[in-house]
């Protein structure tokens, strides 16, 4: 019964979405406030129905109702409760429902927190949101119904893929989808602006918090996915340039560019047309990302045809939304007036440079991901594009971008002075140079790695320089510094933090890739394996039972420089239902570095094969992403205050008298 109610709630939500797609637009045309006002309650009601449907699905999983097909396929009565819940979205149908739920959350948030928007704009934005909603609900109802029943209910489920039985599944997909779907709002705003043929700095101010929020979620969502892969896959990699990862990286790159170009638009009314295009592209890439992953087209062109209905539906949604948006853009964008002039050497110029590199990086990932597919479709020839390609192309672009990062925030708007900025960055240059020398002295080769460390330090020190300059630290009396620090807009703190995070991630990447070491050995009890300063003694194995698996765990005593510092216990879990095995690597933190130990097959003589890594600075990769997210949160708190304020701040009113 509960499954049918959930299904019915989805149908009702679709009905509401169709109403919300049409009526507010008619209202805008007819200048009818009542019709425009329809969008708000329908958005909230949609949220209610979709939440109910999602709750119903989770209830089916929690109660192990195996008469529901997706529950039978992806759940098991012996699973711990948390995995029963998360397995609701650990499959195609459920994850699409999660996508729609998050879309409904964003839709209702726009309805609730857009009181300061002009009525027409709000009505149009909500209507466009609803087009997306309607398309996805139709997709779920027609091709991917998570509530479909089986004629005869099986006694037991087939279990969730053991790899997914991990807390990562509770965190990674929801965060990623919050990011993907969050960009739908800037998309809707862009479409609304094109439909109205009008756009100004106020538009950028309304849309920026949504971009920031989506970007934050996507940043930390990608980082979480990377960490998850790192600790479960058992071979210590954290980024594989896998098409599925690239699918999430592309919207992140475009979204980062959007974040920066919207800044220019908000402060200087420049780059309007470009910002609109980026908003469209970012969400288009989110859609492509979602669907590339969901349609299976990436693994092979042929997988696409395994479910023709789904494949064609996906293609239709992509064509309608991306094609439609770009056509609208081509038609209406020339109507938008350009504003704000600036010299090439200026804050605006620096942000244009940022956009140029990010766009090129995004295009590289896009082409690299889809080229093999396209080539196979056209010539039938199969090629591979993997990590070495991206290292050779994406890498240099990112290095150039990072070199420019510290200059941007220090430039003045309209017309900057490169020489003066370079002088103010002397401290950062010094920090980078010092870092390079120390790295060379301590680690020796490779020289390129030392330069990488220098670059990371340059980015971090550059961001700190910005804060030092703005607060007058080192120059002004302490009281003034404190006063200025408090008075500094939170967005300035946020930008500095985000850039510091970027530098930290780079340091982590350099450390892990350049100085990481690895040992692969077969050990008998009481034998040792050494890596760097560390020495591990294999003490023996134990077998134990988990809720739905058997586990073989090996115990190792870890010594550093002859001193005992702890135990590590990697294990292998065998899940009987799917007769599959997972590796649970043991991780030991040493500051921001890690020892990583994973277990291979046990030998007949009581020996085990282990793969042992020492990964210097590796934790910085993900900590950097968390710092980036905190920077975004800091900026967002600033924006929310200002956006929520009934009257713009003093400085604002001077800049935008027309509002």
């Amino acid at each position: 019964m509960i499954a049918e109610l959930g299904h019915y709630a989805l149908v009702l939500a679709l009905g509401l979405a169709l109403v919300q797609s049409v009526v507010p637009i008619i209202g805008v045309r007819a200048r009818d406030a009542v019709l425009m006002g329809v969008a708000e309650p329908t958005a909230l009601a949609q949220f209610g129905f979709v939440t109910f449907a999602f709750g119903a699905l989770v209830a089916c999983y929690v109660t192990s109702d195996f008469s529901v097909a997706t529950v039978f396929e992806n759940s098991h009565s012996a699973m711990p409760l948390v995995y029963k819940i998360t397995s609701a979205w650990g499959n195609h149908e459920g994850s699409m429902l999660l996508w729609v739920l998050i879309l409904a959350v964003f839709g209702s948030l726009v309805a609730l927190f857009s009181g300061n928007l002009p009525d027409e704009l709000r009505a149009t934005v909500l209507a466009v949101q609803s087009w997306i909603m309607a398309a996805f609900l139709l997709f779920i109802l027609l091709t991917s119904n998570p509530f479909a029943r089986l004629a005869e209910a099986p006694f037991e489920g087939r279990d969730l893929n053991p790899v997914l039985q991990d807390p990562g599944l509770a965190i990674h997909p929801p965060l990623l989808y919050l990011g993907y779907v969050g960009f739908s709002i800037s998309f809707s705003f862009a479409i609304a602006a094109l439909l109205e043929g009008r756009i100004d700095a106020a538009w950028a101010r309304w849309v920026r918090p949504w971009i920031l929020a989506a970007w934050m979620f996507l940043t930390v969502g990608i980082a979480m996915g990377s960490y998850w892969a790192y600790y479960t896959l058992g071979w210590g990699g954290w980024w594989f340039w896998d098409p599925v990862e690239n699918a999430s990286l592309m919207p992140w790159l475009a979204g980062t560019a959007l974040l920066h170009s919207a800044l220019v638009m908000e402060k200087r009314e420049a780059l309007k047309v470009w910002t609109i295009l980026l908003a469209i592209l970012t969400f288009s890439l989110s859609l492509i990302g979602t669907f590339l992953v969901r349609s299976g087209v990436l693994s092979s062109v042929h997988a696409f045809a395994s479910d023709p209905m789904r494949g064609i539906f996906i293609l239709a949604i992509l064509v309608v939304f991306i094609g439609g948006a770009l056509a609208l853009y081509a038609w209406r964008a020339p109507l938008l007036k350009q504003g704000g002039l600036f010299a090439p050497i200026s804050r605006e110029g620096a942000l244009v440079l940022n956009n140029l590199f990010l766009t090129a990086a995004c295009a590289t990932v896009f082409v690299g991901t889809l080229y093999p597919l396209a080539l196979e479709a056209v010539t039938g020839e199969k090629i591979s594009v993997g990590a070495p390609f991206f290292d050779a192309t994406f890498g240099p672009l990112l290095v150039l971008l990072l070199l420019a990062v510290p200059f941007g925030p220090l430039m003045s708007w309209k017309r900057g002075d490169l020489l003066a900025v370079s002088q103010r960055l002397l401290g950062a240059f010094a920090a980078a140079g010092f870092g390079i020398l120390v790295t060379l002295a301590v680690q020796g080769r490779p020289a390129l790695a030392a330069l990488g460390i220098g670059l990371g330090l340059f980015v971090i020190a550059g961001a700190i320089t910005d804060l030092v300059e703005r607060t007058g630290l080192l120059r002004a009396p302490p009281a003034t510094v404190v006063q200025r620090a408090v008075g500094l807009p939170r967005s300035a703190w946020g930008a500095a933090l985000a850039h510091i995070g970027l530098g930290l991630t780079l340091l982590g990447i350099i450390g892990e890739t350049q100085w990481g070491s690895e040992r692969i050995v077969s050990l008998k009890p009481e034998q040792h394996v050494a890596i760097g300063n560390y020495d591990l003694t294999f003490e023996g194995t134990v077998t134990r039972d988990g809720p739905n698996y058997r586990e073989l765990a090996a115990t190792f005593a870890v010594q550093r420089g002859g001193e005992f510092i702890g135990m590590m216990q990697p294990s292998k879990r065998t899940f009987a239902t799917r007769s599959t095995t997972t590796t649970e690597a043991a991780l030991m933190m040493q500051g921001v570095s890690q020892l990583y130990l994973s277990l291979g097959d046990p030998g007949p003589d009581g020996s085990v094969t282990v793969r042992l890594y020492y990964k210097p600075l590796v934790l910085l990769i993900w900590l950097g992403a968390v710092v980036m997210m905190l920077g975004g949160a800091m900026s967002l708190s600033d924006r929310r205050l200002r956006v929520g304020a009934p009257k713009p701040g003093k400085r604002k009113s001077e800049m935008q008298p027309a509002e």
Binding site: V163, L164, D242, L356, V385, G386, R578
Partner: protein, 155 residues
């Protein structure tokens, strides 16, 4: 979602769950040769896997290829010779970093083309903007009004 694909396709599907990629018995005695084998392995695709190098993959085919690479190196092949040998046997598909050829030119040149096209677009936009009338220049009437105002301020 990454995990799902990577694992399902490589570990689970091919029946070698969670065995290691490089097995201890594969490792060559000569560390320099082994280092070359490892860096070559990282650029070679495990062809039955999803975008995994033979260095990462636990599939039996990856094992065979790793052994093959090491055999060629021991026989005295240079790195390009090893790659040529594998391409001759398995086609371009085996290379994770495609060679620059006519059919991959677009792939390799994309970053550069986007940068160049972007730069040209930016320059064109800046020029157009500066040439556009009225954007920053005042009309004759406005100039006159300003000089009037300036005069009145000066008085």
């Amino acid at each position: 979602m990454t995990l799902l694909r990577l694992l399902v396709l490589c570990g689970v599907l091919f029946g070698t769950p969670a065995a290691f990629a490089v097995e201890p018995n594969e490792v060559l005695a000569d560390p320099a040769l082994e280092e070359r084998a490892r860096s070559l392995s990282r650029t070679l695709r495990c062809m039955v896997c999803q975008n995994q190098s033979i260095d990462d993959s636990a599939a039996p085919l990856a094992h065979d290829l790793r052994v093959l690479v090491r055999e060629r190196l021991k026989a005295g092949d240079s790195d390009p010779q090893v790659l040529d040998f594998l391409v001759a046997r398995y086609g371009e598909f085996v290379l994770l970093k495609p060679r620059l050829e006519w059919q991959t030119a677009l792939l390799w040149l994309t970053p550069l083309m986007v940068l160049i096209a972007g730069t040209i677009a930016v320059i064109a936009a800046v020029r157009r903007q500066h040439r556009a009338p009225g954007a920053d220049k005042l009309s004759a009437a406005e100039e006159a009004r300003i000089s009037e105002l300036m005069k009145s301020v000066g008085d």
